[in-house]
Structures are given as structure tokens and as C-alpha cells.
Symmetry: C2
Subunit: 414 residues, 2 copies
């Protein structure tokens, strides 16, 4: 995506303090992406990010699956997560369900990354995405790390974003300039993810860099809050990955320090929030075979009820196929909510689609079916659901379910 095209969803406003740049990394960071032979296609499949700043701070979030990929286990257990200097990420192989050998391979990858980056091993995070249950081709990895180390550059974010793609139809990245009261900083991110997306703590892979100076605590606080509002609010197929990893690194090289509870922190947080929310929606838009993005907003009831109802709608294959077909089948919304809230019948449910009320207090509301059909054929479709009572509200962004999802996933490993 080039300058001015990143904030493409009507649901995300570009904050006034943010300017989009065409690319490039914040001061202190270099990155690269190369093809090292993990993917049979010969496409780029290994990327590195390195910060030259000794004082780099960081924070990370991971999947909470009971089946953790080796790189996730290894990074969680062997890294200083608040001081990550480098990332080695590969696509084409998830290094998941690979046992002791998988852990050894992840550790070797970390070690090689540390050598070429010139940093301690516990400052190197490793992340993988791709097929589960296949041993990592370590010769390719070693060759890839050597090649990537020779190509690290401040403009390497573009190649890095390419190297972490699997079934992604397009690379997902952005570089933003953020004007804070204390000065101007840069913020960039590269993400991948098109399927197996229904994150608990993170999405598949997302790497965020800034040259603002953040304390480790501020890194952790801001990443935690913004991941909750972005990657935890999306679903392509309701499937939690074994490999989800999100890392924020702060080099401090801009010289602009973001102190807790200041206007700087507020403005920086807004920028990070908009960045991650738009990236999350881009992942949904790139949901395998997706044609449209849906947003379901549920209010009323309590926190558990709105969460269950929103997830049930977002993950319903009946709702998703209707969205794909541009079909205003609101009965499937009612069905999904009913499934999420057993024992509540008769449920006084309100449903509006693109602002048009179709269901009031559990029954059909008179509405113009023709006009509704036009509204649901757009690129983004919004469903607003009201449950009895007040108090809670949540949202989930989700993709439709189309033929390409079936084609992609019926033929992925073999």
C-alpha cells in the first residue's frame, strides 16, 4: 500500500496527528526479507528485523492455544521480552507439533539470528507461520539468515512484509509519522494473516517498530490495550493459531520520550490503536477468499452475553456465506444470537443492518427488502444488535465465507 491508502476502512479514522508515509522503518531499525527455499514456490520466506539501539525496549503477546508452536514456546521461555533487539520470522513452515526437534530448531534459529545481529540470544525473538507438523528445513533457515543479514536496510520493511506472507493475497504494512507535543516519531508495522484467525491474545504475526522512546512498562501497557481493541476483535474462520505473535519494539532513536500519563502517551497510543485496528481489518479483508468485511456490534445484556453473541455471529458459516452472497438473510443473525444465549427465549432482540432495522423485540420489523439488498452488497457491512438491558458493548470484525476459502483450504498442504 502506498501513501494515503492505508486507512481504507470507514470504521477507522486516521488520527489528526498521523501522516502516512510510503514505507521505511523508524530510526534505528533495519529489516530484510529473502527467499531461502522453505516454500516450494521459491517465494520470499525468511525475514529479519534488527534494532541497532542497545536500549531497545519491547513487549510481546502470544496465542493462548494449548498447542504452542516451538518458536512461541522458545521465545516465551528464553527471551527477555522487554528487551528484544531482533526478530527472525519465516513463512512456509509453522514449526508446530514438531516436538523436541522443533524446540532445538527454534533455538538454533535464535542462535544464528543473534550471531548475525550481534546481540545476545535472549534478545532475539523467533516466529514462524505455515504448515503444521513438518520438520523445519534448517539448512534453508541458516542460509536465509546469512542472506538476510547482508540485505538489512532501513527500507527493508517492504521485503520483510513480503517474506512473512503465506496465503495472504497482499502484504500488510504501514509507516506512519506521528506528531507528538514533544516531537515527531515514526511508527511502522508489518503483519501477516489471512486464515486461522480468531485470536485470543494476538493475531498470526505482527511486528511493530517505533523510534519513540518508551519504557518497557509503557510498551507493554500500550501493546496490551491496543491488541485487545484490534487483533482480539477479528475473526476470519474462528480458528486460534498455534503461532500467533505480536511484538512491539521501541528504539528510542528519535530522542522523543513518551512518558506515562502525558499528552505524548495519549497521542502515541491513538496512533498505535488506529494502526493496529486498520491492520486487523486488513487481515479480515484478506480473509482467505473474502469479498466483504462485516462488523457486528452488540450492546445490552452483560459482558459475557455481548461477547458470546458477537462471536457467534462473526463465526457463523451461515452468516458468513450470506455476507458473501450479498444476501440480507437477517434470520441467520437471530439464529446465531439464539445459539449463543441458550435458555433466554423468548429473547427480545433488535437487529439493524447498515442502519436499517430488520428485527425489533424478536420479530421482523417492516423494512424495504430491496433497499436492504443494495446495502449488504457493499464492501463493508455493519450489523448492530441490541440485547435486553444495558451496560455492555463489543464489536467483532469478520470476513465472509466464499468459494476461494474452500479452494485454498482444501488444497493447502498437498
Amino acid at each position: 500500500m502506498s501513501s494515503g491508502e492505508f486507512f481504507s476502512s470507514r470504521w477507522i479514522d486516521r488520527p489528526a496527528q498521523v501522516t502516512e508515509l510510503a514505507g521505511g522503518l523508524p530510526l534505528g531499525f533495519r529489516a530484510a526479507g529473502v527467499a531461502c527455499g522453505i516454500k516450494p514456490s521459491g517465494n520470499p520466506d525468511l525475514g529479519m528485523i534488527v534494532s541497532s539501539a542497545a536500549e531497545t525496549t519491547s513487549a510481546a503477546r502470544f496465542t493462548r492455544s494449548g498447542v504452542l508452536a516451538a518458536p512461541v514456546l522458545m521465545t516465551m521461555e528464553r527471551c527477555r521480552l522487554d528487551g528484544l533487539r531482533a526478530v527472525v520470522a519465516n513463512s512456509g513452515n509453522a514449526n508446530a507439533a514438531t516436538g523436541g526437534r522443533g524446540l532445538d530448531d527454534a533455538a538454533k534459529t535464535q542462535g544464528s539470528g543473534a550471531i548475525v545481529a550481534g546481540v545476545r540470544e535472549d534478545a532475539v525473538a523467533v516466529a514462524s507461520t505455515g504448515v503444521i507438523g513438518v520438520p523445519m528445513p534448517m539448512e534453508s533457515i541458516t542460509r536465509g539468515i546469512a542472506a538476510a543479514s547482508g540485505e538489512l536496510s532501513a527500507e527493508g520493511d517492504v521485503a520483510f512484509a513480503e517474506a512473512i506472507r503465506t496465503t495472504d493475497a497482499f502484504a500488510k504494512r504501514a509507516t506512519l509519522e506521528v506528531t507528538l507535543p514533544s516531537g515527531t516519531v515514526r511508527l511502522s508495522a508489518q503483519a501477516k494473516g489471512a486464515g486461522m484467525i480468531s485470536p485470543g491474545f494476538a493475531t498470526l504475526l505482527c511486528f511493530v517498530q517505533t523510534d519513540a522512546a518508551l519504557s518497557p512498562q509503557t510498551c507493554d501497557l500500550l501493546l496490551g490495550v491496543t491488541v485487545k481493541r484490534s487483533f482480539e476483535r477479528i475473526s476470519v474462520d474462528g480458528q486460534l493459531s498455534t503461532n500467533d505473535t505480536v511484538i512491539l519494539q521501541s528504539s528510542g532513536e528519535s530522542g522523543v520520550r513518551v512518558e506515562p500519563e502525558t499528552e505524548d502517551e495519549l497521542r502515541f497510543g491513538e496512533a498505535l490503536d488506529a494502526l493496529l485496528r486498520q491492520l486487523a481489518i486488513s487481515i479480515v479483508r484478506d480473509g482467505e477468499g473474502a469479498r466483504r468485511v462485516g462488523r457486528v456490534v452488540v450492546s445490552g445484556g452483560d459482558a459475557a452475553a455481548v461477547e458470546a453473541a458477537a462471536r457467534a455471529v462473526a463465526n457463523s458459516p451461515l452468516v458468513k456465506t450470506a455476507l458473501h452472497g450479498g444476501d440480507p438473510n437477517w434470520g441467520r443473525i437471530a439464529q446465531a444470537v439464539g445459539m449463543a444465549l441458550p435458555g433466554t427465549a423468548p429473547l427480545s432482540l433488535d437487529v439493524a443492518i447498515e442502519g436499517m432495522q430488520v428485527c425489533a423485540r424478536g420479530a421482523r420489523a417492516p423494512h424495504d427488502g430491496e433497499a436492504l439488498s443494495q446495502l449488504v452488497a457493499r464492501d463493508e457491512v455493519e450489523y448492530v444488535i441490541g440485547l435486553p438491558g444495558e451496560g455492555a458493548e463489543t464489536e467483532v470484525f469478520f470476513s465472509d465465507l466464499g468459494h476461494d476459502y474452500v479452494s485454498i483450504n482444501a488444497e493447502y498442504t498437498t
Copy 2:
């Protein structure tokens, strides 16, 4: 299905005391199915079942959705569920999310059914399946009930089964002769369901008749136990319907009484169990666009863990598309189990597909990939999953996810 073809799954054995018949209802029952104009296609869309025996006993199970269709609410609240004499069922319109008018329409349907069947209103169950949120065309219903009442016959099970189809590719019914120690009885059933299948208490629609004499308590006990082992163990798309209804009626007209805790009850229960389990698998086999049936068996852990793991596998679109493609992607099984059991990493997971071990203690087990590819291309594929520990075990039957599911569901209402 003609004689000898009903028990088609390798997972269900025909009990020795059971003989398949080509069709026909048990003594005391008549049924009919007609086209009354609910479906634009002009296909059959209204069916009736009537028992002539004043002493008919019955039991019923319903969906536990929070959004209950009007016929479900009306039948649950206004019927004597242990003495149902007649059923009026329609396809083409679910009469769900239709508010007060929907309840009135269901009550009118019940009233018309009672008049033509010559029974009390509270002995008439009403069931509907089809589109949600559209008012019932009551002139069609009234016309249909009148037409059906003129066509009731002991061989009406065939037409009835046709009349309750929606997206079903084939009608689902069976007539069995069951030899009990005290004499021979008949047992028949008609079911529908191809999508929106992940029942809590029941499946979409299933009506079961017998001329054995069962007390209301025995009816309820046997139906409860067998529904738990059949319709509660299947998933086409993980979607609980607003309309699920299962009814068992016993006319007693064979003169053979099935007393509690007798060999008769045991043998009758076995026959009912096999009947409902095979019907459940037939519903999965007819899952919208389905090509293959999967069976996932999970053992170990505790009851909650095996249930969560089995459902996660059965409902995973990644597992289902792999099954569709005949793709031995066992990594998606591991991913789904991990998602179901957060916080258990590293999980010592065993997975066998069609008897071939592919994952042992969480890591890939050496196996012949070519041979595995052949095994997963069959009509029925079995996944056996072992969790650490002992004690619990469960199974779920599920369909694959293919292009036809998308086509059917992207274009269903409009």
C-alpha cells in the same frame, strides 16, 4: 432408501433383532405429505402424522436456542407432550422471529390439525423448517392441512418425509421390524436436516413412531438416552437451529408392551438407538454439499476437555475443508485441539487417522504419507485423539465443507 440400504455407515451395526422394511408406518399411524404452496418451487411442503389410538403416548425434545421458533414455543407450552396424537410439519418457512403473529399462526395450525385429526388441540404438535423471519402464508397452511387429511395412509411415511425436506438432497426415513421377546413391533422415523445442524437437545426435525406400547415415562427415557447418543453428536456447520424438534409416538397397537427394565426394553432401546444414530449420520452425510463424513473420537482428560476438543475438531472449517479435499492435514487437528484447551501447553497429544498414528505426545509420528492420503479419500474418515489422562471419551460425527455449502448458503433466501 429401499430395504437393506438404511444401515449404510460402517459405524452403525444393524442389531440382530432388527429387519429393514421398504417403508410403511407402524400399526395405528397414518401420514401424508402434500404441496400447498409455501415453497415457490411447488415441491411438497406440508406433512401430517396421525395416530388413531386414543392411548398414544409420546415424548419430545427441542432446541435450546435462546431464539425459539413460534411452533417450538407453542408446542412446548400448549401441548401435553406425553400424549401427542398428531403432528403438523411444514417446510419452506420456519415461522421463527415472527413475534406475536407467528405464535397466532402456530396456534391456528394446531387448531386446524386438531379438527382434521379429530383430536384435542393439546395433542397436536406443530413443527416448521425453512426461512427465518418471514410471516407464515396461512392460506397455504390451511389448504395443505385439508389436502393432507384426505390423503392420510399407512404408507404415507414416504410422502411425509418428502414434505419436510428443505435443502436436503435426499429424504431420510426408515421402517424397521423389531423382534422382541414378547412379540414383533414396528418402528419408523422420518427426519430432515442438512444445514444449521449442531444440536443441543435435538436435530432439525425427526419424527419417530412405534406400535409397541410404551408408558410415557419409557418413551421419555428412551428418547432422551438415544437423542444424546445420536442427534447431539453431529455437526454439519456448528449452528444450533431455532426449530429443532424430535418427537417419539407410541400407538401400542401391536399389543406388545415394553415394560421398564426388561429384555424387551433393552432390545427396543437398541433398535431405537441404531435407528437414530444412522439417521444422524445420514443427516451429516447430507450436510449441505458434503462429500465425506468424519468421526472424531476423543479420549482421556475429563468430560469437559473431550467434549471441547471433539467439537473444536468437528466445527473447524480448516479440518472440514481438508476432509473435503481428501487432504491428510493432521496439523489442523492439533491446532483445533489446542484452541479448545487453552493454557495446557505443551499438550501431550496423540492423533491417529484411520488407524494410522500421525502425532504422538504432541509431535509428528513417522508415518507413510502416501498411504494416509489414500485413507482420507474414503467416504468415512475416523480421527482418534488421545489426551493425557484417562476417564472420559466422546465422539462427534461431522461433514466436510465444500463449494456446494457455499453455493447453497450464499443464495438461500433470495
